[in-house]
Amino acid sequence: MINKVVKNAQEALQGVENGMTFMLGGFGLCGIPENCITELVNLGVTDLTCISNNAGVDDFGLGLLLQKRQIKKMISSYVGENDEFERQMLSGELEVDLIPQGTLAERCRATGAGIPAFYTPAGYGTEVAEGKETREFNGKMHVLEHAFNPQFAFVKAWKGDTAGNLIFKGTARNFNPMMAMAGKITVAEVEELVEVGELDPNQIHTPGIFVQRIFQGKGYEKRIEQRTVTPKI
């Protein structure tokens, strides 16, 4: 088996430079690559384009990169919950490309799957479709959307093995599998790194072929954005 293991986030992020385009997995704060984000802050790289469904909160997730003004452009479907984001966006410091969530997911998938572009009904007749090719299929209008071209994808999995095979947990899967497919270099950080043979091949969500570097993550905070509970009776 091809061994993909690197020591830590520092080693995993070798080659990261100013001005690059990254994909970062996660939905809200669920399933985000916490260790990679911390290391991007440490590296101080700037002028980044970040493709991620959301932009974190003020003091966690991608919010940490926003605080240090490291992000030039965000490509997301929903960016609430973040005051610093709002300030930078309204002042024009931060460029923001908002795209429908399903289109974002499919554009990530297409990137990894060798599909340069595809038609989707989402956004037809709205400002999302402005300047894009449209075409009718089966009596319904569709919009042409393109794949991305990221240098790195950073994903977070629950378990992974040394060959880069990944298993996600709960709704922390979200965008991670498609982004793992899409990165020229995909870095996977995992809560539990195991030897090959320990994961059941039937249960693998992301085959190791999509992962170039994997490391044992540490200190996961896994912050909950909206803690909603049913009171104990």
């Binding site: 939905f27 919950e81 289109t103 989402a122 007749g125 709704t171 899967r173 979200n174 599998p177 896994k222």
Partner: protein, 218 residues
């Protein structure tokens, strides 16, 4: 009396049909899950990658790795399943989800909906709303009939940036149940004690009133 938000949800729940997969948006739509009619089996889909969504977890059992599309902690019922975002929107665009319930700022008599952007104000994004309205066979909009200034939200034409075109077929508000067809709002039911005249006054778009309009049964 105009309906409360809970009652709007209760009325929408009457539209649920056995064996339907349903996606509920944030706000009033979320409340629909509290009023599933007896004898009916439905499964709720959350577009962040969950089918068979259950109630909020018992205090102390919440799991950071199990949330809904509103980022709230939830549970998963027996028989539920988990998947990635591309698969989730394949379910939505591929019309495997039978009903979408979502809120709106404006709905027009041609079925256009606007619910994601107010120019000049902070734009948070459309999330999955554009994919949902572009694809769902059945879309029910849950909303108040008028805005905080008392202006109608059921219009001839949307003034805000659109989320989708010609897609809404049914609207349930605090005053009425309306069907959108042939470029007009057709009044189907009134909220208990609300007159047709009140509904007419609160509706800017073309309102068709055919015969006696019954009161909703809650």
């Amino acid at each position: 009396m105009a309906l409360t938000k809970q009652q709007i949800a209760q009325r929408i729940a009457q539209e649920l049909q056995d064996k339907w997969y349903v996606n509920l948006g944030i706000g009033i739509p979320t409340l629909v899950a509290n009023y599933i009619p007896e004898g009916i089996e439905v499964e709720f889909q959350s577009e962040n990658g969950l089918l068979g969504m259950g109630p909020f977890p018992i205090e102390g059992t919440e799991d950071a790795d199990l949330i809904n599309a509103g980022k709230q902690t939830v549970t998963i019922l027996d028989g539920g399943s988990l998947f990635d975002s591309a698969t989730s929107f394949a379910m939505i665009r591929g019309q495997h989800v039978q009903l979408t319930v979502l809120g709106a700022m404006e709905v027009a008599e041609n079925g256009d909906i606007a619910n994601w952007k107010i120019p000049g104000r902070m734009v948070k994004g459309m999330g999955g709303a554009m994919d949902l309205v572009a694809s769902a066979e059945n879309i029910i909009v849950a909303m108040m009939h008028t805005n905080k200034k008392g202006e109608s939200k059921l219009l001839k034409q949307c003034s805000l940036p659109l989320t989708g075109v010609g897609c809404v077929k049914k609207v349930v508000t605090n005053l009425a149940v309306l069907e959108i067809k042939d470029g007009a709002f057709h009044l189907l039911e009134r909220a208990p004690g609300v007159s047709v005249e009140e509904i007419q006054n609160a509706t800017e778009g073309t309102l068709i009133v055919n015969g006696e309009i019954p009161e909703m049964k809650l």
